[in-house]
Every structure is written in structure tokens, then in C-alpha cells.
Amino acid sequence: MDKLKKTIKESLNNFNEAIPNDLVRKQLEADGVDWNEHDLLQDKFIKQLTFKLNAKANKEKQERMLERASNFFKDALNKGLDKPIAYMNNLINTNQLQTQFSRLEKMSEEQIKDVIKDQNLIEILEMLEEESKREQ
């Protein structure tokens, strides 16, 4: 019996998915939809949704980059790579944080994130990747 219910359910879904747009529009028109007003509301909604999602995607991308950069930095500081150490020292001095981080290799990833979050992450990632390659 479950199989029969499943078949009916799937058939109804598949049938529904196959409805061509012009028929959907005709059915809605028959239900009294005013397309001028309808289209305007849809356009406004799509614009707002797209804007909101793009902003969210950018934020997520930035968070992923920050995560990656802090991981790379932690690794580079542990290895004692010159350029990343100099870069971090410079950032710490600029931000007057020297009392907090006397030993760079002891910085946690979260602390690194705090220091680099407002910097150009692409530039940092490129610098770290170059340094890692040079090291190898």
C-alpha cells in the first residue's frame, strides 16, 4: 500500500513540475491575477532577494578567507617564516598590541583573526602562499 501512495504522490509531483509556464500564467489569469501589478511585485521581491543573498554570500566568502588566512598565518608563524613574522609584527605595532602578543608563535588562530580581519585578505593569502612555496 505504501508503494501505491508513493506512486500517486510522485505522479502528482512530476505532473506539477511539468506544467509549462504559459499554462501556469493562463490558470492564474483565469483566477483573476492582474499581471501588471503581479509582475511589479515579483520584480521588487526578486531584486530584494538577490541583493540580500549576494550580501550574505560576500560575507560568507570573507569569513572563509579569514579562516584560511588565519590558518596559514598560524602555520607560517610556527615555522618561523620571515615575511609573515615581519608582517604580523608590523600589524601588531600599528595596532599597539605588543603587550598582548610577546611571542607570535603562541598566538591562537582566533587572535590572528582579530588582528588581520580588517586587512586586505587577498594580499595576505598571496604573501603567505608565496612564502610557503619559497620555504618548500
Binding site: M1, D2, K3, L4, K5, K6, T7, I8, K9, E10, S11, L12, N13, N14, F15, N16, E17, A18, I19, N21, L23, V24, R25, K26, Q27, L28, D31, V33, H38, D39, L41, Q42, F45, I46, L49, T50, K52, L53, N54, K56, A57, E60, K61
Partner: protein, 200 residues
Amino acid sequence: MRVATTSEIIEQLNAIDIKRLLNKMELYVRDRFYDKSDRNKRGFQFQDFCQQTLTKACDGTRKWKPDNCSFEQFIFWALQSDLDSFFKKFKRTELTLEKTPQSEYIINLPNYIEEKSIDDSSFEKIDEKVQLQEWIKQLKDQGADKDELEMFEFFAAGIDKPKEIAELLDKPIEVIYTISRRLRRKKIKLNEKWTSLKKQ
């Protein structure tokens, strides 16, 4: 199972015609409201239901797992679920406010019903035939016409392509959709509980 990222959702939205999706959603919402008055919408427009569901499905409130189903299937699942909650909430409020009993019907076939399966498939086939005839009788009692009954039998047999059904019923495809909307407004009884076809 993996949840889609916002970038993946944006890709999906770019790949589809969002207006077409919204229109299909609206048709579904209208069918769910066909036997209800404007008061049941509680100030919402049909489009509002579609937009709210699509927003929740895209902004991560609801989580789409791409390995599980297509984006469109996910959206319709979410819409069905949102409307179920809306009607349930409305029913509860009505009961509290008016203290009048509501008729007992509409449950969600795949989500709420659990049946014990029968291992012997021959029994199952006999059962299915009997059940199908029972459902057809129930549809007839609600005034379903010959076309609706035939369409229901096609669905039960797994025939679901609109073009194919149009040929079998020898009717234009536009008429086929009207028949399907009429059929969806009927109910079938499952496990002693009535289930509306419009939800499926």
C-alpha cells in the same frame, strides 16, 4: 548530508526562471486555499506565502541539501510545510477564539502517516487493487467526473506526463491541467483519515 551554500543557491536562482517558479508556487497556494474564505489568509496575499517560503529557503532558515532533492522539489516541500503550519496555527486560533469544533481532515500523506508494510508482495497487489477501487469510490462520492477518475488511475499507475495523459484522454493539454486542479480538490481516505489531493 551537505547543506547548500548561499553561492550555490544564487547559482540555482540564476539558472532558473524565478518568476515561473513563483507563479507555480502561487498556483499551488491558490489550490490549497480554494475552499477557504479570505479571512483564512489573515491579511496575507497569495504571493506573500510564496515569497516568504522562497526567502526562508534561500537565506538558510530552511536548509536545502542538494544531494537529497532538486531545488524546485525542495521549494515545493518547504511551501507545503509552511502552509501546513499556517493552517494548523489558524485552526488552533479559531478553536481558542470561537470554541467551535473544526472538521477533521487534511493530513500530510508522506510526513505524518506511517503504515506497517506487508512483506508478501502478492497480498500487497491485491490490497492495492482494493484500495484503489475504494479511493475511486470516495472520489466519485465527492462528485469526481470520468476524466478526473481516469487521471487518478493514471497517476496510480505511474503515468504522469501531461502530454501522455492528454493523448490518452484525447483532450488538449490545457484541459488536462484544469482536470488536475479539480482532482487535487478532492480527498482520499488513508488509514481512516481523509487526505486532500491538493496537498500532494
